[in-house]
Each structure stands twice: as C-alpha cells, then as structure tokens.
C-alpha cells in the first residue's frame, strides 16, 4: 500500500475514536444515544480527508503516520473539551479548521523550505520580539503571574507558541554553519571540553534569553522548553555531551539563583515541593492547582471514571479542577480515562516524536536534520513540561498540551510545526527510498 493510502486508512480509526468519544459523552449527559455523534465523526473525517488530499497532491512521499497521529490527538482534545464546555469545543473545532488552512498554506508557500535558512537572523529577531510582546504595556496580559498572552483589539494570542518555531529555525540554521567550528575549535580545560569563545556568543545569547524569560516573562515552563530544545540541538549538531553538561549546569545555576531570589519563582518551587501545606493551598497563586490536579488523578485510578465522570465543580460552583481545558487537561483525561487512557495519550505523543526523529534521520542535508530534530525535541519537551507539571515531576507552569489543550495559538503554531516536518519528510523519504 502506498504511503498516502496508508495515511487515508489510518484516518478512519481516528474518526471512529472521535465518534465513540462523543457517543460516550452523550450517553453520560442525557442517558441516550444521539446520532449527532455520527455527524461530528463524519465532519471530523471530512476535515481529515481534506488535509490528507493537501498532502497527497503536494507532498506525496511525506511520512504517512504523522497526520493520523495528530488527528488522534485532536480527537482526544475535542472530546475532552466538549465534555468540559461545549461552546469551547465549537471554538476549538473552528480553530482546527483555521489550523488546517494554515497547514495547507504553509505547505504550499514553503515548498522550498530551505529559504528559511537565508532569513535566519530576521526570523530570530521576529522570534525574540514575539517573546517580548506580552510585556509591552497595553497589549501584554498577565495570567497566574506569568506574562504569556497578547491582546490586540479582539484578537488574543500567545506569541510564545510561535516564538518556539522561530527560535528553532534560527538555531538549526546557525548550528549548521558553526557546528564544525564549534567542535574543532573547542579546548579541553579541567577535563571538560569547552566550545570556542568566539562562537559561544550567540549560544550565550540563547542562554541569556532563557534566563530572561524566566525572570521577565516569568515563565519557567517555556524557558525550560526553549533551553531544552536548544541543548538537544547543540548535542545533535556537535555530538559533544560536555556542551550539554555545561549548558545544563548554567541553566541549573541560573534557575537556582532566581528560585532563591525572585519571589514569584520561589513560590512556584514551594508549591511544587509542598502542594498540600495548608498555608500554600489557599494562597493566591499557591498550590491549589497542583493539589487538585493530583486529587483528580487519584480519583481516576487505573481505568478512570469514564468520560463525563470527573467532578469539575463543587456544589456551590467552585472549581475543583482549575483551567481544565488548558493547563490541567491532562489531569482531566487521567481522571476520566484513568492511567490506561493517560498512557495511551503519552504513547501517541511518543509516536509523533518517533516519526519526527525518523524524518531527521532520513533527511539528506544538515539543515533539515537539525530543523526536524529541533522541532520534534521542542514538541516533546512541551509535552514533558506540562504533563510533568501536572504530575508534579517539575513545578507546574502554563504551557499547552499540543493539539489537545484548548487554544487557537497553540493549534495554529503546532500545525505550522507539523507542516514543516512533513515538508522535510517528503524529499527525505523520496531520496532515501520510501520506508
């Protein structure tokens, strides 16, 4: 079977999953089955097939699994958001349509994606500006102590979601040029290999940017995600573990410094370490979120309460799971689908990551390799940061769960990311012989 036919076939079970999910919610809500779930399933399948045809006509040899995997993620998101709030789900569905259009546009407009390499500094600048935008008075917005949102008239969006793609494009282009020099010019000092100082400059800028985000944007999660993506790229480009070690050390040092001096970061760490402390749980910006997240997961157990079974609000309308549609959506999924469902979701993410790295391995040129690696790594790290936050592996910070959380910016940015991966996959698989 050709790659495209495999893709088309794989979209069917994804649509059935969505149909079954909606059916389950309708039964839960009204004790009866409605054919609306079939309609939703058909519409979803229609959209997927439309996306499929875009790929079929423009990138015939692209990876056949990525798009169906993303549709499974989207199905998780739509079903769970519908269960939380049906108006939000309708908006989310609209965002998916817009996302698909943007996906198609990216593929068509960036047929020759190597032009990105040429505009690396422009893109880097744009990325940094995007990251700064939330702190611009008048349009910037603060939520839970972090500056992540921007509101321009009626349009609100989260620039960090787009910023991550810009930064990765820049790093991939920059490292493709300098990777040889970084390796050859490096010196050993005290048993550790240090990169040459001359080329270290831009890399220090990235470190500085991460630290800056930690303090200025006040977002530990995003800075972890960016810096992690940067280290992953640095490692793949130079194959020097010592560079990664130095980078990690510097990040840890900076994070420790800010954790002990900046009140906002300090509170985040405290709530992470002692989520059930009575003084912290009721404090504004305290540990209520993480504590409720863990309670919700404990409530889910192995198999979960079933879709619609999670208790989101108390009798007086007080929220039991804050931000259930965005930051804590993983807790809702674990609550309702249990450990089994949560592991299933993580497995789908891992498969996406595996396909992303496969594309990087097959790619013929360094830029594509680095770009595919970087985009995949940052995608995986985003999942780790939010799921790790929700499960108390690391302090909880607000980033979205790609393709699952509610939010237009997240969906649009991740569709661009998907388009870029598929763009690189097409020539790679054609040259390498379809696999």
């Amino acid at each position: 079977m050709s790659a495209r036919n495999r893709e088309l076939m794989a979209l069917l079970p994804a649509s059935l999953l969505l149909t079954a999910g909606f059916a389950a919610i309708f039964i839960q809500q009204s004790e009866q089955l409605s054919d609306v779930s079939l309609i939703y399933g058909a519409v979803f399948l229609g959209l997927c097939v439309a996306g499929h045809f875009v790929i079929r006509f423009t990138l015939p040899d692209a990876d056949p699994y990525l798009f169906p995997l993303v549709s499974v993620l989207a199905c998780f998101g739509l079903v769970v958001i519908y269960r939380i709030d049906d108006t939000l789900a309708r908006e989310q569905a609209q965002w998916f349509v817009v996302g698909l259009v943007l996906f198609a546009a990216t593929i068509v407009l960036l047929r020759d994606f190597r032009v990105l390499e040429r505009y690396r500094y422009t893109i880097a600048l744009a990325g940094l500006l995007l990251l700064l935008l939330p702190r611009v008075p008048g349009i910037g917005q603060q939520a839970n102590g972090a500056y992540l949102g921007v509101k321009l008239g009626p349009v609100a969006f989260q620039p960090a979601e787009f910023g991550k793609i810009a930064i990765i494009i820049f790093l991939a282009a920059y490292l493709r040029d300098t990777r040889q020099v970084l390796v050859q010019g490096s010196r050993r000092f005290l048993g550790v290999t240090f990169p040459p100082l001359k080329h270290l400059g831009p890399l220090l800028v990235v470190w500085g940017a991460a630290m800056f985000m930690l303090v200025f944007i006040r977002d530990l999660g995003s800075s972890l995600m960016y810096f992690g993506g940067f280290l992953a790229l640095l490692y793949v480009a130079t194959n020097r573990l010592s560079f990664v070690a130095i980078g990690l050390g510097m990040f840890a040092l900076g994070a420790w410094f800010f954790a002990s001096t900046v009140g906002h970061v300090q509170l985040r760490v405290d709530t992470w370490l002692h989520p059930f402390e009575p003084g912290l749980i009721d404090k504004p910006g305290g540990s209520y979120q993480i504590a409720q997240s863990l309670f919700a997961q404990a409530d889910g157990g192995l198999l979960g309460t079933g879709l619609g079974g999670s208790l989101l609000r108390g009798p007086t309308g007080n929220t039991l799971i804050p931000a259930p549609d965005t930051d804590l959506i993983y807790a809702v999924i674990t609550n309702e689908l249990g450990l089994v469902g949560a592991c299933g979701l993580l497995a789908v993410f891992l498969l996406v990551v595996q396909r992303g790295f496969k594309i990087a391995e097959l790619a013929g040129d360094s830029f594509s390799k680095l770009l595919a690696t970087g985009l995949t790594a940052v995608f995986a790290l985003q999942v780790f940061v939010i799921v790790g936050g929700v499960t108390k592996v690391i302090p909880l910070t607000g980033v979205t769960l790609p393709f699952v959380s509610y939010g237009g910016s997240s969906i649009l940015a991740n569709f661009i990311l998907l388009a870029l991966l598929l763009l690189m996959s097409d020539p790679a698989r054609r040259e390498g012989g379809a696999r």
Binding site: A298, T334, L339, A380, T391
Partner: protein, 462 residues
C-alpha cells in the same frame, strides 16, 4: 548525526517514562493516600451524588438513610438520632466520616472490590450504594441507653453474642445527634476511653490461674487484710480480713489480697500472656474504624501503655484491676464473651450482612475466632465461679429469674474523694455484657452496674 538523534530519542523516551511513572503513582500506587488527604473534598463531593446505602438494626429498623438534596445530591438522615450515633457514626463534608459510615464506606457508596464488581463499574459509576444489616438490637440498645441515661454520670454498655461475637449493644453516654453538624467530635466511651477495671480484672487473673494449672477453684489462699504486695500493704474492701479461703469464695466475695497474691505468684510473664490472649494491648478486631478504638493495658504517664512484664508494673495490683491498669468497656465485654464461649474469644462484629440495592445478600461474614484463650474446662470452672458471684456474692443484683447468670462486679476507687468506677461484666446463656459507670459518688458495681446488666440481658431475651 543519526547516532546522536537516536540517543536524544532515548533520553526523551526516558523522560516520558518518568511521566508514566509519576502518573501511575498518583493514579494507582499512591492514590489511597491522596484520597485520604483532608484537603481532598473530591471524594466526599462525588459521594454526595451517590445514594448511600441504608444502615439497619437487626430487626430492620432504619438507623441511617439517604435524603434527596437539590441538584441531584443526597444528604444523610439518622432517624434514631443519638441512640445509635456512636456505632453508626456519620458522614459530613467538613468533618469527614466516623463509625460504620466510615468503615463500610466502600460498600455504602457501591464501590465493589471483587472482580465482577470492578467490571460493573466500567459501565459507569454506581449511583446507589449497598445496604448494611447490623447486629445491633434496637430493643436492647434502647434499654441500655435508657438505663445509663437515668443516671447523671458518664457510662457505657457493650453486649455481645457469646458464640459469634455479634455486638448487640454499644451504648455510650454522652452520645450525640448524628444529624447535627458537629458529627464525629464525640468520644465513644465504649471503645475510645479507658477506665480502671477494678475487681472485674480478677476474672482474667482467675483464667490465668486455672488454665496455667497452678490453681484450682478449691485452692486455698490466705485472705488476710493488709498483706504486703510489692512492698506495700494491700487492704480488702471494708478492711475485712479472711483466713485461708478457696478461690471460688475469694471471687464470690471479691477478696483483694487473695487475687493479688495469686497474680504475684503467677508472675508477670503468665499474667502478660493471658492478658494478651484476652486481647489487651491491641486494637480490638472489630469492624469499626481503627482511630475510634484504643487498646487496653497498664498506662503510665500520658497515654503510653507499658507491657505487663515491665519493671514499672506492680503485677499484684494489676491482677485486681489496680496498678494503673486501664481498660475499655469493649475489652471487658470481650473477656466476658470469651469465658462464656468456652474460652474462645471471637472477633466483635457490628455488621451481619451487606445487601445490594435489590436486597440480595452480597456478603454475610461468618463469625471469626480471634483466639482460644483457655481450655473449655478452665472456662467451665471459671464460669461456675462467676455464677456463684451472682448467686450469693457481690453480683446478686444481676440475677435473672430462671436463667443462670455468671458475672463479676468491680468497684475501682479512683484517687478522688469517694469516687468509684462501677463495673459489672458477665454472661448468661447466649449473651455477654459489660457495664461501666464513670465516677459514681458512693455506690458499687454490685449495686449500680449489675442491675443495668440484668435489664440488658433481659431485653435480649434471656
């Protein structure tokens, strides 16, 4: 670069492994602790959506039922109010749960732990819980409550079926109204409070004496007043002095100096052995929350129990229920039940049956033996001695027309002016009973506690 990409993938794989590990911890392995966290109101709120099962007395009288609240939620009502409050307990959003409402919460909310039940719950959480049929007797509980209610002091009564350990009465004063909001704030004097047992402890000493083979009911010991026990002279009740008397006579007339000497001669090891067999020094194996039961034993400063073999223990005085020995009424009821049941201590049971909402029996636990404390022969001899107490000794007020009652009174002087703990423990054909009245001014176990025991045994059909 492909090698490093693979390595990077492995690192991310491990990171996702951590996520799976943590999720498994919160959802499965560490979930119990999270559910029990006092900040976690999720479980209680969710349970409000479930129609909790009904708790009934042994004759079917409703002790706890559900009442509808707005928004498809359910509240709890306790038609019998304070009467069964300690046993049934309550469930409240703010104060958590207590009593049977706590111990049988899984059943009452319909959470099944067996395989088929778990399969059922996949089809959606159950909305109706299972019912409980308790062993408690409505009539006897009422009689016991009225009897202790007629007195001004605090008091407790526990009655059990001899051969099954089924608890028929668990009454404690003060009680509380489960319907009120301050649920769970009250101590259950029957299981959570310790009193000096006084002479009722002589039954345990007698069991050790007979069953160890060192003494017979006819063995003679001097009952002289003022005998030196552990270096200090010990007096009999009313400073009465006896010559060499046999153990039956010494139990019938509750002669302190005889039993203290027997305890000393048996030694700490033997006394400790029989106390442990009777269930001292351990939470009673009853279907009741652990945090609402305390063990009995020798209590030194604060609430700490020291073993009977400890150097700090004056075993001669412990043998007559003094020397800092403190016991719960439930423990003493267990002692009486053991002797009446031929030496076999049964696990006390509050619930006879668990029934599903359609009335089908899901679980009907068989009576369970806790331990054989002494031989049937020893129990028979001790029973005869105790029957003599009721026939012609200190416990005549417990005598029932046409039924032979065995028993032992206790009047423990506490170190306050003229205040006593008045005790009676005993058994007749089918039931054992323990009664304690706390800090009575003037009056003994024989005059105050024995009549209550009699009326409770009577109400149980003896």
């Amino acid at each position: 670069m492909n090698v490093s990409i693979t390595r990077l993938f492995v690192v991310l794989l491990l990171m996702f492994g951590i996520l799976v590990g943590f999720t498994s911890w919160w959802t499965v392995f560490g979930a119990e602790k999270l559910r029990a966290n006092p900040e976690n109101r999720r479980i209680l709120l969710a349970e409000q959506l479930i129609k909790r099962g009904v708790i009934r007395a042994d004759n079917g009288e409703v002790l706890a039922g559900s009442r509808p609240l707005p928004q498809e939620r359910f509240g709890r009502r306790y038609p019998t109010g304070p009467l069964f409050a300690h046993a049934v307990g309550c469930t409240s959003l703010d104060r958590g749960r207590s009593g049977l409402e706590d111990f049988y919460n899984d059943a009452l909310t319909g959470r099944r732990t067996d395989a088929i039940g778990a399969l059922d719950s996949l089809l959606g959480p159950s909305k109706i819980g299972d019912d409980l049929r308790t062993t408690l007797s409505s009539r006897a509980q009422q009689v016991a409550t009225d009897a202790i209610g007629a007195r001004p002091e605090k008091a407790a009564v526990v009655a059990m079926e001899l051969d099954s350990g089924a608890v028929k009465v668990m009454a404690a004063k003060p009680s509380f109204d489960s319907n009120a909001e301050d649920c769970g704030a009250n101590l259950n004097l029957a299981t959570q409070a310790r009193f000096p047992p006084g002479s009722t402890m002589k039954t345990v000493t007698a069991a050790a004496a007979l069953d160890s083979g060192r003494y017979q009911p006819g063995s003679r010991v001097s009952g002289e007043n003022g005998k030196v026990i552990s270096g200090a002279p010990l007096n009999n009740f009313g400073d009465e002095s006896f010559g060499d008397i046999d153990l039956t006579f010494a139990l019938t007339n509750s002669v302190n100096t005889v039993w203290a000497e027997v305890g000393e001669k048996l030694g700490k090891e033997t006394m400790a052995e029989y106390m442990t067999k009777f269930g001292f020094y351990a939470d009673p194996p009853m279907d009741y929350p652990d945090d609402q039961m305390i063990p009995s034993g020798v209590k030194k400063e604060r609430e700490r129990l020291v073993p009977a073999t400890s150097d700090q223990v004056d075993i001669g005085r412990v043998a007559i229920g003094q020397g800092d020995l403190e016991v719960t009424p439930l423990q003493m009821a267990s002692v009486a039940q053991t002797i009446g049941n031929g030496g076999v201590r049964m696990q006390p049971r509050l619930v006879a049956k668990v029934l599903d909402p359609d009335g089908r029996t899901i679980d009907e636990p068989l009576p369970e033996e806790a331990e054989r404390v002494m031989s049937g022969e020893s129990a028979q001899k001790l029973g005869d001695m105790m029957r003599n107490v009721v026939k012609e000794g200190t416990g005549t007020a417990a005598a029932l027309e046409g039924v032979s009652v065995a028993g032992k009174t206790g009047t423990a002087e506490i170190n306050l002016q003229g205040l006593n703990e008045a005790w009676f423990i005993g058994f007749s054909g089918r039931f054992a009973v323990a009664v304690v009245i706390d800090r009575v001014q003037g009056g003994t176990g024989g005059t105050l506690a024995a009549p209550i025991a009699k009326s409770v045994l009577e109400s149980l059909g003896e």
